[in-house]
């Protein structure tokens, strides 16, 4: 299959401007600068490109929410705070092909009439941040950034803003708070960032992979982009496969690739002699699928129909050596640690879920605990400022419902029967 976003992955030279340009880099930008900004937004709408960060919102439609003829500055914030457990695809773009991102940013900024853009990159990405910084400097010197870009009269300053270790800052309004020098507390919506975002000005937040799609969409056109995926979700996507497969890694495939094909053909299948037990198809916040539910396409609609979501494209594969109680303990302890603490149902709920699941894993729980878990998730879902609370509830509900017998077994035996076989 053709590679668009991942064509330079593994090529240690590709991050240099000269190498990027020799592969056709920045031709998308040159073409974009000849268009009217509004036509550019229309073209992205036509392509059907949807956000690759998690929510899958149509990118062109999001851009169109910026108020027309606003007198305030417009900001573009790039979400490079990749933190959804299981997700490691934006890091690949940052370290192998940072100019692909920079070009995408300049195109988007031009379409939005934005003169200042920030890349919010997670603090753990040290060398990735250095690569991006290097690319920005090179682009600046070559006239792709700064004043009067390529003689078009368009100006853009691009800055890196380094996060400092907080999962919630991947949530777009928490990201804006963090960019303003505050604790990353999500904001109530509305107003949506497109109307009132960074510094109370119209703001678009786009994911790294989303923006990396733009140069080729401009060069080849929306029709070309639509040859992959579905009518509602076209294009290719970077799938990050981890867990119990032979070849964990990032695979760029048609957005509606079948989950089983992704696991068996691309990621090399399971470790020898093992059977598939469960898959988390879209990062830690998505509901788990049992092995018998895995005949499904990976597009947003198909996964939603299975009661889960495509999320960030992170596919976590578990074979029959996995203790699902332990999996849930790991996930719940993560959500308890990362709840920002702003809303009571989430702060208290995620902490209690984690404590109860820990004692179930140790074999110290009671039958009543299983019902109590659902009582708590009921009080979390839809009752808070952001969707973190719903994300924390999803694995609890799906894992306990679908693998209840393992929880019952922990209660009956006061221990785990497959303990010690989960990790390699």
């Amino acid at each position: 299959m053709e590679k668009i976003l991942s064509r330079n992955f593994g090529n240690g030279e590709a991050y240099f401007l000269a190498s990027y340009e020799s592969g056709g880099g920045y031709t998308g930008l040159r073409q974009a600068l000849k268009m009217k900004p509004n036509d550019l937004t229309e073209l992205v709408k036509e392509s059907g490109l949807r956000g690759r960060g998690g929510a899958g919102f149509p990118t062109g439609m999001k851009w169109a929410f910026i108020p027309k003829n606003t007198l305030k500055p417009v900001y573009l914030c790039v979400n490079a705070d990749e933190g959804e457990p299981g997700t490691f695809k934006d890091r690949e773009i940052l370290r192998w092909d940072p100019h692909l991102l920079v070009e995408g940013i300049i195109i988007a900024a031009y379409a939005l009439g934005c003169k200042t853009s920030y890349v919010y990159i997670r603090g753990e990405f040290v060398s990735e941040g250095e690569r991006l910084d290097y690319a920005i400097n090179e682009a600046q010197k070559a006239g792709y950034l700064g004043k009067n870009i390529l003689g078009s009269g368009f100006n853009l300053d691009l800055f890196i803003h380094k996060g400092a270790g907080a999962y919630i800052c991947g949530e777009e309004t928490a990201l804006l708070e963090s960019l303003e020098g505050k604790r990353g507390y999500p904001r109530l919506k509305p107003p949506f960032p497109a109307v009132e975002g960074l510094f109370r000005c119209p703001t678009i937040v786009n994911n790294v992979e989303t923006l990396a799609n733009l140069p080729s969409i401009i060069t080849h056109g929306p029709k070309w982009f639509r040859q992959w995926g579905t009518e509602k979700a076209p294009g290719m996507r970077l799938y990050a496969v981890s867990g119990h497969v032979q070849r964990p890694g990032v695979y760029e495939l048609s957005l509606n690739i079948s989950l089983m094909k992704l696991i068996t053909e691309h990621a090399g299948g399971l470790r020898s002699g093992r059977r598939l037990k469960a898959v988390i198809p879209g990062g830690a916040s998505s509901s788990v699928l049992r092995a018998d539910e895995c005949e499904v396409a990976m597009d947003f609609e198909a996964l939603a129909a299975k009661g889960t979501m495509a999320g960030s494209g992170a596919v976590i594969v578990m074979d029959d050596t996995t203790c699902m109680v332990k999996v849930l303990r790991v996930l719940s302890s993560f959500f308890a640690h990362e709840s920002c603490g702003q809303c009571t149902p989430c702060r208290e709920g995620s902490a209690w879920l984690s404590k109860i699941i820990e004692r179930l894993e140790r074999g110290e729980g009671t039958q009543a605990d299983l019902d109590l878990l659902f009582d708590i998730t009921d009080n979390m879902k839809g009752k808070t400022i952001c969707v973190f609370s719903d994300a924390a509830a999803a694995p609890v509900e799906s894992i306990v419902k679908k693998f209840r017998e393992e929880f019952e077994q922990h209660l009956a035996d006061r221990a785990c029967r497959i303990e010690g076989r989960g990790g390699e």
Binding site: P73, E82, G83, E84, P85, G86, T87, F88, D90, R91, Y118, R122, G123, E124, F125, V126, S127, D157, F159, H161, K162, G163, A164, G165, A166, Y167, S178, L179, E180, G181, K182, R183, G184, F199, A240, V241, S242, G243, H244, P248, G249, V250, I280, A284, A314, I316, M318, T322, K326, V327, V330, L331, F334, H337, E338, C340, G422, G423, E424
Partner: protein, 158 residues
């Protein structure tokens, strides 16, 4: 109390502040700068940052305590951060953790007496394709085994 940025850091400070339309927005990058400059964010350093950016000491402390990468106490020369999240857990991070505790004789969140090592367990570091993974002072190590971990410790001790 003579906490003050060096000439070079001062230059960086001015450049950082110029990126934002409001001075207080520079708090996160300025805390990073201060941490690089002064090793960790002591009471004095926090007061200095608060004065330099005209933000209240309470806001500075609030921000520092919200994020996990700001250090308020001296750390070891090598900071080992082992991922404990799902993909690493499925591929054996538990063994790396017990091997580390055995090797360093400290628990997560602690620093060895000789200040050579600090050890933490952390949430997903976006290296799930190379699980189990860890970072040492921000540098990634992927597909780590108990054996390669022991070799790494040997290298870091040398």
């Amino acid at each position: 109390m003579n906490t003050q940025f060096s000439k070079e850091a001062e230059k960086k400070f001015t450049e950082i502040v110029s990126r934002y339309p409001r001075k207080d927005a520079a708090l996160l990058p300025v805390l990073w700068l201060a941490q690089e400059e002064f090793e960790y964010l002591s009471q004095e350093v926090r007061a200095y940052v608060s004065a330099r950016l005209d933000v209240s000491p309470a806001r500075v402390d609030g921000v520092i305590s919200f994020y996990t990468l700001y250090k308020t106490k001296p750390m070891g020369q090598h900071h080992i951060q082992i991922c404990r999240n799902i993909s690493c857990s499925l591929r054996g991070c538990d063994q790396l953790m017990s091997a580390t505790e055995k090797e360093l004789k400290i628990k997560p969140g602690e620093t060895t007496e000789d200040r050579k090592f600090s050890y933490s367990t952390v949430e997903c570091i976006a290296a799930c394709g190379g699980a189990p993974a860890l970072q040492v002072n921000g540098e990634y190590y992927e597909n780590v085994t108990v054996k390669s971990l022991k070799e790494l410790f040997k290298k870091l001790r040398a």
